[in-house]
Symmetry: D3
Subunit: 249 residues, 6 copies
C-alpha cells in the first residue's frame, strides 16, 4: 500500500524525523511518503497555527488524493484537516494524537500525554474529550518548552524534561502509558520507554500501523453521516483546486 | 460599543439578513457592522467548508482587530475561527451556536436544534459535547434541505419544514426551547415562536446581546491558558498580514 | 424594561451593594429594583437557610409578578426559588450563579468559583453538575470565612484571602476565569480582575445584562415541560397569596 | 428503633397508605410513625409545591428531632427538605426516590420510573442526575394523570395506566425493574410485580428497610462537608422554632 | 430468612471475621451461614485471582442455590461471580463493594475507599464506573500492604495506616464517608469511625441488611434482560454440577 | 511474529472460521495459531458462560505464554480473561470487541454493534462503558438468535437478519460503521459491507492487525498499576499450573 504522511508545519527537520520513524515500522510492501507544505507556520501550537496550515495542507491532500491508500496528519492534536480529509476521501485518514492514544489504550488503563508547550494542554483536553477518553486520561503535562526547541541543540535537555514530567505522570497521576504529545518527538519512544519502564507511544509509527491494518481489513472511511461526501458547491475567489473535492463521485 | 459580525460564507443575502436581525436588538449606542469575506464557499455545511472560509475570515478579523469591541462569527457550529480569534484578541468573541444555546439554557431545561443539512447534525453533536451541554440537548434535527435553499423562493416551504421538525422535537424528544441551527434562518425566530408556543432562539441577536453584556461588565477574553497570547513565530510563504497576530502585546 | 432583584437573605447591606452593582451596568432605559424579604436568615449558606428564605421570597415574587419584566435571585447557588419562579412566571428568571458561569464560559475554557464558606463547596458542586458544566469547572475554593464577614470591617482581609485562593485556582487548578461565589462580593470584580490579570465575573451585573438580552430578543421562559404552568391545586392553612400562582392563565 | 415518616403533602389518605406500606415490612422492634403537616399543598408536583411544603415539614422535623432514630421524607423526588434535614440531624434521613432507586439497582441493571404527572419527569431527571444514575435509568414515564387521582375511585384505571406504561418501559426502553414514582402509589408494588413479571420497588418500604439497616450498622449522617452542622445564625421574623437547628451541638 | 455469605478466597480467618461481622447486625430471625471454597487463592487482589476463585465459588453457589433466600459475595470489588450468580438465581445477590457504597451514599455526598493493595485501586475504579458513582467518589487510596497482612500480628499497624489514609481522604480529597475496601477489614468500622468522626461503612454488615431489606420487600432479581435465565446449553468436559444452572425453571 | 488466538468456547467450527479470518489479513511473516480449550461451554452468551470458560482458557494461556508475541481472546465482549492475561504477561493481549471498536472509531463518528443473543446487549453496554465509548455508540442491536445458530444451515437467514438490524442501526440510530458482535460472525464483514455501503468491522482481523502494529512499534503491556505483575501467592487445591503466573519475573 502507499501512505502519505503530511507534516502540516513547514519544518523540514520534523518531516525528516517523521519519515524515519515511519520507515522504521512499515511493512515491506508499504511505501511511505512524508511531505510538508511549502507555506504555513514553522510549528503548530494553537488553533490559529492550525488554521494557517490548513489551506496548504488541503492543497497537498487534494492533489495527492488519488495516489495513496491512506493518509496521516502528523500533528499531535485534533487538527481540523483530519476531519476535512475524511469528508473528501474514501481512504482512511488518521491523526497522530488519535493513533497514539488508540494504541496506548490497548496496553494500559490510563495514559498521560507529555507535550512541550503549556498552551497545548487545553487543545489536547478538547481532543481527549472528543474521543471520549476522559476516563482513560491520567493527565496532560507539558515541559514548558517551545515546540521548535525540539529541533535544536538542546535535545538532551528536552529529553530530560520529558523524563521528569513522565515520572511525575507515572508516580503522581497514575499513568501507565506515556503518549508523546508532539510530532517533533518522533523517534524518542524507545529511549524514553527503556528509561521509564512503561510503554511510550509515538503517534507516527502508531498511525502507519493502524492504516496498514485498516487497509488489510479492507476498511475505508464511512460515507454515512459525519464524513459523507461533499455535495457540489460554488466557491468564490479561491484557487480552482479547492473545488475538486466537491466534484468527486 | 462597536461590534463586528463576520458572516464567514460568501452569501451576501445572508449577510444582509444577519445585519437586520442584529440591528433589531442592539442597544441605541451600539454600532453593528456585518460583513462577509470576498472569498470562500457560498455556504458552510462541513469542516471542509469551514476551513475554506477560515483564511478569508482571519484576514478580516486581523485587519479589523483594533476597530471593534467585540466580534461575532455568524456561522452555526463550533467554527474554528472562533477559537483562533479568541487566541489573537483581548476583546470577546462569540459564535452564534454558543450564543443561541447559552440563552436557550436560561429559559428551559432542554433545547433542540433545528438545522437544514443532515450532515450538520454530526458537527453540532460535537459542539454540544464541547460545551458540556449533552444533558441539556433533547435532540438535533434537520429539515433535510441545503442551506442555500434558505435564500431562495421556497422560504415558505422551509418554514413549514422547520415547524414540522420543531413540533417533533417538542412532542417526541422533550424539547422546551428551539435553537435555530443556521445563520440563514436569522429573523425567523418570532414567527416560529408564536406558531410553536415555545421560545425560539436565533443566535445572531443572542450574540449581540451577550457581547453588549460582556462589554458593560468589562469582561474580556482570558489570556490565561487556552486563549493565551500568540508568541512570536516564523511563518513561510503566507501573506504578511497573518504574521500580525504574533506581534501583539 | 423593569427588573426585580430579590436578595433572598435579610442583610440590607448586601441589598444595597447588589443595587449598586446592578445600576452600574444596566442600560439607560432599564429600571432595577433590588429588595430583600423582611423575614428569614441573615445569610444563606446551607439548604436549610435556602428553605427558610423561600417562603418570604416567594411572597415577594408573587406580589410583584405582574410589575416586572425579569427577575434575579441574588443568591449564589441553585436556590430552589429560581425553579419555582420559572414555574409560576412567563418572564425570565435568573440566579446569579448561573449568570456568572454563563458569562465566564464565553471568555475562557475553565472557571473556578471562589466562595467564602467551606460548606458552600458541596452546594456549588451540585449546581455545576446540574448545569452540565463539570468539564468547564477547574475548581471550587473557599476562603474559609463566614458570609457575613463580607459585611464587616475586615473587608480588606477578605479581599486578600480571595486573591490568595484565586491565585491558587489559576496557578494550580488551571482556572482562566474567576466567578465570585457570593452575592456579598458584589462590586469586587473590577479590583480583583486588575490584580489577577484574568476576568472576574460578578453574577449580579451578569444577570442584569442577560435579562436585558432575553428581553430585547423577546425570549420568555418556556411553558413546555419543566417549567409548565401550575395547575389549580388546593392548599391548606397557608396565606392566601400562595394560591395565586395556581390561578394564572 | 423509632422511625418518623413525614408525608410532606396534606393528604391524609396518602399518609394512611404510607403507614400501612411501612408497617407491612418493618422489623418487630421498629416503631414507625407516619404523619403529615397540617399546612401545605394537597399534593406535590412541582418545585413550587415542594417549597410550600418545606416550612411545615421542617417544623415537624425540628420538633421531633430528638424522638426518632431515622427519618423518611415520603415524597418521590429530590425534595429539598431531605438535604436540610441531613444538615440539621445526626440521624439518617432518606427520601423515597433515593430509597427506591437504591434497591432497584441491586436487582437489575436498568430501572424505569413510572409516575403520574407529566411535569414530574423533569424533576426526576434532575434527581437521577444528582444521584449519578443516568447510566442505570432506562426511562421515566408518566401516566398523564394528576397525583390526586390516585386517591379517588378510579384506582383501577390508574393501575391499568401504570401497567401500560410499565410494559412500554420493559419492552421498548429496556427496563428490568420498575420504580413506583409517587408516594400515592404505596402498596401497589406486589400486584404490579406479579402482573409484569419484574421487580416493582415501592420507595416507602425500601426507605424503612434502609434506615433499619443503617441503624443496625451504627451508621449516621456524616457531619463532614456537605451535611456539616449548622453554625449559629441570626434569623429575622420567623417562628422561634426555626432557630433551634442552629443551636445544636 | 436464610443468607449465605461466600468468602471467595480460602482464608478461613477471613471467613470467621466475616461471620462475626454479619452476626452482629442480622435480625433475630435471619440465619447467616458464612463459608469459603476449599480451593483457590488465599486472597484476591487481581482479576487473575478473581478467576481462580470463580469455579470453586460457583460450585458452592450452585449446590446451595435452593437453600438460601439471599447471597453475599464477600470480596470487595466487582467480582464476576456476582453477575453470574444473578444470572442463575431468582434470589438477590450482593457484593460487599456495592453494598458498602450503597449505604455510604445515603449518609454523605462523597465517599473514599481505603484498601490495602495498590493494584486494587484500578479494579475499584472500574467498579465505581460501572455503578455510575464517579461523581460521588472522592478518592480511592491504599495503605500499600498486602491483603493477607490483615490476618497477621501487625493488625495495629494496619489500623494506623488506615487511619492515616482515611484522614488524607477526608482532609485532602473531600471524603465525608469511608468505605472499608477489603473483606479482611470486617469488624474495624466502629473503631475507625469513632477515631475519624465520620461514618465508616463495612460492606459485610451492609450486605446483610440490604438483603434483609430486599427480602422483607419481596424483591427478587429481575429476570428481564441483563440477568435473564440461562437457556439450556451444552458444556464439555466440566463437572456435571456446572450444567445445573442451565436447567432451572 | 507469532500470535495465539484463543477461541474461549469449545466450538471447533468457530475456531476454524476464526483461523481463516485471521490468515486472510496477517502479514507474511506473522504466524497465527488459533485454538480452543477442550473444556467449557459450546458458546458464550452470559457472564456465567464466561466464567466456565475462564479456567480452561487460562490454562491454555499459561502453557503458551512463552511461545507467542501476542494474544487474542476471540470472544466478543469484555471477557475477564483479557484482563487476567494482561496481568500475567508482558506481551500485548486484545479482545475482539475492543479491537473491532478501536478500528471502527477511526473511520466513523458512531458505530453500532449487531449481535445475536438479546442478553448480550447488556454485556456489551458494560464493555462500551468501560472503554469510555458511550458517546461513540449509536446502538447495540441483536438479531434475537442463539449464537450457535451461526454454525448451522440457516446461515443465510442469519445474514438476512443481520442486514435488517444493520439497516435499522444506520437509518434509525445514526450508525456510520457496523461492528460484528460475535466471533461466530467472522468472515461476514466483506459481504455485509458491500450490501450496506458502510464499513463493517470484524474483530478477528482487527485484533491481528492491532497486535502486529503493537509488535512493530515495540509496545508491550504496561506493568505499572492496573496490569502490574502478580506477586507470589499461595493457592490451594488447584492444578499446579495456576501457580506459574505468580512466579514470573
Amino acid at each position: 500500500m502507499r501512505l502519505l504522511i503530511i507534516n502540516p508545519n513547514t519544518s523540514e527537520n520534523f518531516t525528516k524525523s517523521i519519515q524515519l520513524a515511519a520507515d522504521a515500522v512499515k511493512s515491506p510492501n508499504t511505501e511511505v511518503v512524508c511531505i510538508n507544505p511549502s507555506a504555513g507556520p514553522r510549528s503548530i501550537e494553537s488553533v490559529y497555527d492550525e488554521l494557517l496550515s490548513s489551506g496548504p495542507c488541503l492543497e497537498l491532500m487534494i492533489s495527492n488524493r488519488n495516489k495513496f491508500d491512506g493518509f496521516v496528519i502528523a500533528c499531535y492534536g485534533h487538527h481540523p484537516v483530519i476531519t476535512a480529509a475524511r469528508e473528501m476521501l474514501h481512504q482512511p485518514v488518521i491523526g497522530i494524537m488519535e493513533a497514539s492514544l488508540t494504541l496506548a489504550c490497548l496496553v494500559g488503563q490510563k495514559f498521560s500525554i507529555i507535550t512541550s508547550e503549556e498552551r497545548a494542554i487545553s487543545l489536547f483536553e478538547e481532543g481527549v474529550r472528543l474521543y471520549g477518553l476522559e476516563s482513560r486520561c491520567a493527565s496532560i503535562r507539558s515541559t514548558g518548552t517551545a515546540v521548535l526547541a525540539l529541533e535544536g541543540q538542546n535535545k538532551n535537555d528536552v529529553e530530560n524534561l520529558m523524563l521528569r514530567e513522565s515520572r511525575k505522570a507515572i508516580e503522581q497521576d497514575g499513568a501507565e502509558v506515556i503518549s508523546l504529545g508532539c510530532a517533533g518527538m518522533a523517534g524518542l519512544d524507545k529511549r524514553l520507554s527503556s528509561e521509564l519502564g512503561v510503554p511510550v507511544v509515538d503517534g507516527v509509527p502508531a498511525a502507519v500501523k493502524l492504516l496498514e491494518g485498516l487497509f488489510s481489513c479492507g476498511i475505508q472511511t464511512s460515507k454515512q453521516r459525519a464524513y459523507s461526501r461533499l455535495d457540489m458547491k460554488e466557491i468564490v475567489n479561491l484557487p480552482a483546486i479547492f473545488s475538486e473535492p466537491y466534484n468527486q463521485d
